[in-house]
């Protein structure tokens, strides 16, 4: 048996397993996704829409990379980092990726403790996630500075080859970095709510007036994992291709 649908009246509605369960849910009343709160459903659909945004970005990047007549700069040289005089290709980006993926791990822990309503631990891991996210953005700023100041790469051109290199790199990593930054801000807001006990007391939100609940930790987690996942694709097509 799949998890039964919970109802406000305390009655439980049993649901069949597997494919039949999906059919039953979709042909039922009230909710197509049983036991899925509104916020979570909304986040999933938003992420679907956002997937289309990032896909459009990446497909456009691939197209201009093919359409340009000027040779593409060699990514492992451009993105190298010199440590003690030795050029290590992709070093910075490896660290950045590691940091961001780790933040997904801490986010999982935060969601887990959120389920258990462990106020302090949830707070700590949310904050840790935010810190890792901020570190990522910081390193990205460092990388941008390096490319702009030292390599002379601009959105409209660069000395190493095709102008589209800088254009799509700054645009796409910038758009992704914005996602991460927004995520960091909201992680901090959620963390504060958790620590203050807003979620335990179901205190209404400052702007929306909706009662607080630990669901928002999980919703936040969805967003965060999505941003990480997108990074994996950006990483693959920008740095490894």
């Amino acid at each position: 048996m799949a998890q039964p649908a919970l109802t406000g009246t305390g009655a439980v509605l049993p649901r069949p397993e597997g494919l039949q369960g999906i059919v039953a849910d979709w042909s039922s009343d009230q909710r197509a996704f049983k036991n899925v709160p509104w916020g979570k459903a909304m986040m999933w659909i938003f992420l679907l829409s956002d997937t289309f945004i990032f896909s459009s970005f990446l497909i456009s990047y691939m197209t201009v990379r093919i359409s340009t007549t000027v040779p593409w700069p060699n990514p492992s040289e451009v993105f190298g980092l010199a440590i003690g005089g030795v050029e290590v290709p992709l070093l910075l980006i490896a660290i950045m990726t590691f940091v961001l993926i780790s933040s997904s791990g801490t986010m999982v822990l935060a969601v887990n403790y959120g389920y258990r309503k462990d106020r302090v631990k949830t707070f700590v891991f949310l904050l840790l996630t935010a810190a890792l996210g901020a570190t990522f953005v910081g390193m990205q700023a460092f990388e941008w500075t390096k490319l702009i100041v030292h390599e002379g790469i601009r959105p409209w051109g660069n000395p190493l080859g095709a102008a589209q290199f800088g254009a799509s790199f700054f645009m796409i990593t910038g758009f992704h970095g914005t996602h991460v930054s927004i995520g960091v801000i909201f992680l901090i807001i959620v963390a504060i709510k958790v620590l203050r006990g807003d979620l335990d007391r179901m205190r209404p939100g400052f702007m929306t007036g909706r009662k607080g609940s630990y669901e928002i930790v999980e919703t936040m987690g969805l967003y965060w994992h999505f941003v990480d996942l997108v990074w994996v694709f950006i990483f693959a097509v920008f740095y490894l291709w």
Binding site: D29, S56, S60, S67, A163, S168
Partner: protein, 613 residues
């Protein structure tokens, strides 16, 4: 006789979720300006959309003046003409129709029809409107900046859109792109609400297959919009960068006005793909809500269940899915691999199947129905006419060999005005005549309505039928004036004059409609709760117009599908969705009682308690 999809049940499952707390403001400003009530937001959306729509209408009148009387007006010059074409097209498609159907009718009807108190996230919904308004203001601002609005055509194709020589290549195009980006952000906030409300906030007993087709149409259109707008959003960002920072996403190396520009290596075709990946679904974003609404109008005013409800739903889903794989039929002349043309022609013809199915079902619903030629019904039937017309020319244009000589001519203009301009607009009118009594509590004036219908409907044909012929002759679109050619005869000009006169009459007559809207608001006949004797939930509210929260103390429970009209043996020729079976209701009051009774009986344990915590 096989039985119709007469979906009725006596049992209604208990409520799964606690009712949301609504934010009840006290002040006028809180209630009507910064409102979180979907119904107020709907009216805000509608008024704004109709407001810009009027601007677009005036622009079309000016264009027609120029085309009909090419040398008479000194204030229209070739650049202006292009700017008017562009603004007219973009405003009509995005800022009027998309906003009105989804932001306007979506907001008003979804919560009421699915039996919800409000949208799931009213605050986000409110922000959605204000972002939309901001986008509209940005767009209007482009009339006042140096160089004026962009004149690149509503398709905004680069490279010309941002090159000197195209009107508005400096300010206009950037404002247009930024405004579109904001429109998309605002729409996304609203759209997420519409989708989640339909999926997760229906009332007890309201299954997906009991939703009125209006909700299905708006729901699917919203999904299309959420997946199609991203492509436009991304291309807007990239073109803005091309214009402002000098990147070369869409710009190849080129020489313009004798100067070698600093662009190099971009792909103009990429823009076309992105644009039409959005642009074709956009056609269905305005068509699907129209399909849904028309289905309901026809069923209500023919007192018959809709023919083939399930097929209608599947057709909506099929059209929605297919609309993402036909986009390049707009690019047959752009220089594509011929195999692509073959593929996209095939998918285009396939999408005609579910569409034709819907048309048959409308006609079969009318067949031997008890047709009341009310104003909404007239508009609905008018829609079926214009839509069949535009659909047929669409089949022509979907075929590569036919499209190649016709694309870029007035034939295309005639086609898309029939199928996606006039048709949805007729539905908008019909829907306003139909739901105005619920929104304001008063009926619109019938005589004025019929006058409005006949002039608009016949005028449509007077305007667009001859345009097909002009297209055959080879008269190009987006041309300020024809000059002399060997292939267009002199007499084409007299046809153009006739079209212009018809267009001006149709345009002017819309004042009657506006007057009707305002006059009836104060002086119209009181409507009562359910003037059309319809089954769907929005007509069963305890108050008309419905109060904040829509349904009074208890939410209705739904026992049947939305189309129980003229059921044999029933006391009335309609049975509201919230009336339990077996009860012979004599009127609306009883139906309301019945639902409350049902609600109490089944709610059992009293106030629901929160779940998930």
């Amino acid at each position: 006789m096989t039985s119709i999809t007469h979906d009725e049940s006596a049992y209604v499952p208990p409520a799964e979720v606690e009712e949301p707390e609504l934010y009840h403001p006290k002040s006028f400003v809180g209630k009507y300006i910064w409102s979180q009530d979907a119904k107020v937001i709907a009216v805000q959306y509608a008024i704004t959309a109709i407001g810009v729509g009027l601007v677009a209408l005036v622009l079309s009148g000016i264009m027609r003046l120029q085309l009909g009387f090419p040398h008479a007006f000194s204030f229209i010059n070739p650049s202006n003409y292009l700017q008017f074409v562009t603004m007219h097209g973009m405003i009509m498609v995005i800022y009027l129709l998309t906003a009105l159907f989804l932001g306007g009718f979506g907001n008003y009807l979804i919560p009421l029809m699915v039996g919800a108190r409000d949208m799931v996230f009213p605050y986000v919904n409110m922000v959605s409107y204000w972002v939309y308004l901001f986008a509209v203001l940005l767009l209007m601002a482009s009339f006042f900046v140096p160089g004026g609005p962009t004149g690149s055509g509503w398709t905004l194709y680069p490279p010309q859109a941002i090159l000197p020589g195209t009107p508005g290549a400096n300010w206009g195009i950037v404002l247009m792109l930024v405004s579109l980006a904001f429109f998309i952000i605002g729409f996304t906030m609203g759209g997420l609400n519409y989708v989640v409300t339909v999926l997760q906030a229906r009332t007890r007993g309201m299954t997906m297959m009991r939703l009125p087709l209006t909700v299905w149409g708006i729901f699917m259109a919203t999904i299309l919009a959420l997946l199609a707008f991203p492509a436009l959003f991304v291309s807007a960002i990239m073109m803005t960068l091309d214009q402002t920072l000098g990147t070369s996403f869409f710009m190849p190396a080129l020489v313009s006005q004798g100067q070698h520009l600093n662009y190099n290596g971009g792909s103009p075709i990429l823009f076309q793909h992105l644009f039409w990946f959005f642009g074709h679904p956009e056609v269905y974003i305005v068509a699907l809500p129209a399909f849904g609404i028309v289905s309901d109008l026809i069923a209500v005013h023919a007192r018959k269940n809709i023919f083939g409800y399930r097929m209608m739903v599947w057709a909506i889903l099929a059209i929605g899915g297919l609309s993402f794989v036909v986009w390049a039929h707009h690019m047959y002349v752009s220089g594509m691999n011929p195999y692509f043309g073959f593929f996209f022609a095939t998918t285009t013809l396939i999408i005609a199947i579910p569409t034709a199915l819907k048309v048959y079902n409308w006609v079969l619903t009318l067949w031997r129905g008890n047709i009341h030629l009310t104003v909404p019904m007239l508009f609905a039937i008018g829609f079926v006419f214009t839509f069949i017309n535009g659909g047929l020319t669409g089949l022509f244009l979907g075929n590569v060999p036919v499209d190649i000589p016709l694309s870029g001519t007035m034939f295309v203009v005639a086609h898309f005005h029939m199928v996606m301009a006039v048709s949805p607009v007729l539905v908008v009118f019909g829907a306003i005549y139909h739901w105005y009594p619920k929104i304001t509590g008063r009926m619109l004036n019938d005589t004025l309505g019929k006058f409005h219908f006949w002039v608009t409907f016949l005028g449509t044909y007077a305007i667009y039928y001859p345009m097909h012929y002009l297209g055959f002759l080879g008269v190009p679109r987006r041309y300020y004036a024809m000059g002399t050619t060997v292939f267009v005869p002199e007499s084409a000009q007299s046809l153009n004059e006739a079209i212009t006169i018809a267009a001006l009459i149709v345009g002017a007559i819309q004042v009657v409609f506006l007057y009707n809207l305002i006059w009836s608001y104060f002086k119209g006949k009181p409507a009562g709760p359910n003037p059309w004797r319809a089954t769907t939930l929005e007509w069963q509210t305890p108050h008309t117009p419905p109060k904040h929260g829509n349904f009074g103390a208890t939410l209705p429970a739904v026992y049947r599908w939305a189309y129980d009209y003229s059921v044999p043996g029933a006391a009335e020729d309609f049975i509201p969705q919230n009336q339990p079976p077996g009860k012979k209701a004599k009127g609306l009051e009883q139906a309301l009682d019945a639902s409350d009774l049902g609600a109490q009986k089944l709610d059992g344990a009293g106030t629901p308690k929160p779940i998930g915590s």
